[in-house]
Symmetry: C2
Subunit: 165 residues, 2 copies
DNA sequence: TTGATTGTTCGGTATAAACTAAACAAACGA
DNA sequence: TCGTTTGTTTAGTTTATACCGAACAATCAA
């Protein structure tokens, strides 16, 4: 008589899971598509919903992650420019909160990622000797990217102006 | 006297690695940032540099992947709209090539991914009862996204018009 | 200094993903 | 019908990554 542990079959749906918790989980999963660890996504979502900065312990505690994971993933988020570390006077702890111009920052991140991709293509366009057809294909690809990039950065600039800090 | 296998320390740098091979590898790595398997990236890069459509065997052979991986990853790329499967008359094999309007398609992919993210935020904006400050933050985030999305889709539409097929 | 608090790093484990080989299915030609 | 060619699926292996607990380092207070 073998018994399957229920925790394997399916996790217990936490009875006191609030709407906010669900939001956090869903956003965390969605952010995995951007190559972030799930815990990083949870932390980000948590901070997104919190007005004031939160300490590492609280982050670890309320996301259910270990302090180690919280430490690592806050750094990841910080390096990606999604959150920032702030210090409060007369307090040794670090506190974290989302950056103010969040959307612009995320878009800048994405642009930077694309840039790496297109840099490779452009480099190939220089070094490789390919047929005129292929060359035309690559050139057109880059042209279109460039035009879209310009439009996009202009739009972001407008966002920046509208909300300077 | 322990000897470290050189293949572990570092892979042999293939002496007859062409510039095209390097291009393929670099692009493949860059595409991993978009959540694609490395082999998918290699296949894409390979097709990008080839004028005419290529069969599965050739793809497998020239990327060094197994036929199974080639099959799986071509399907991934096809579903993402980056390549297309074509059939040649009097030939049972499937052939693959990049789609014609490549840049627009990649951007559409990216937009779709963002859409999922923002859908969650908007949903949260409806269901969650958060402080006015947080609500303002989320709303602003979505507003900025929406404005940028409009600009972007317009720019893509222009690309589409400029090169209809 | 010592003790307490806070963050990071390290070692090990579990989970997930990529990939291959081999079995399988489907489509065609003989 | 039977063998051949082509693509897919499956099972198992390898590889990479996330994660935790515990040890460690650093900072400040006493």
């Amino acid at each position: 008589m073998t018994v399957l542990k229920p925790s394997i079959a399916r996790r217990k749906p936490d009875p006191k899971a609030t709407a906010a918790d669900e939001f956090v989980e869903r956003l965390a999963v969605a952010m995995e598509a951007d190559g972030l660890p799930r815990i990083a996504g949870r932390i980000f979502a948590l901070l997104l919903l919190n007005e004031d900065a939160i300490s590492l312990d609280v982050i670890a505690e309320s996301t259910g992650a270990s302090k180690a994971s919280a430490s690592v993933n806050t750094r990841v988020l910080e390096q990606r420019g999604l959150i920032e570390r702030v210090s409060l006077q007369g307090d040794r702890r670090d506190y974290y909160r989302t950056v103010s111009n969040l959307f612009v920052r995320t878009m800048e991140q994405r642009l930077a990622k694309w840039q790496r991709f297109h840099a490779i293509v452009n480099d190939g366009l220089e070094r490789l000797d390919v047929s005129p057809v292929i060359r035309g294909r690559l050139k057109n690809f880059e042209m279109e990217y460039e035009s879209v990039r310009e439009v996009l950065t202009a739009a972001l600039e407008r966002c920046r102006v509208r909300r300077p800090r």
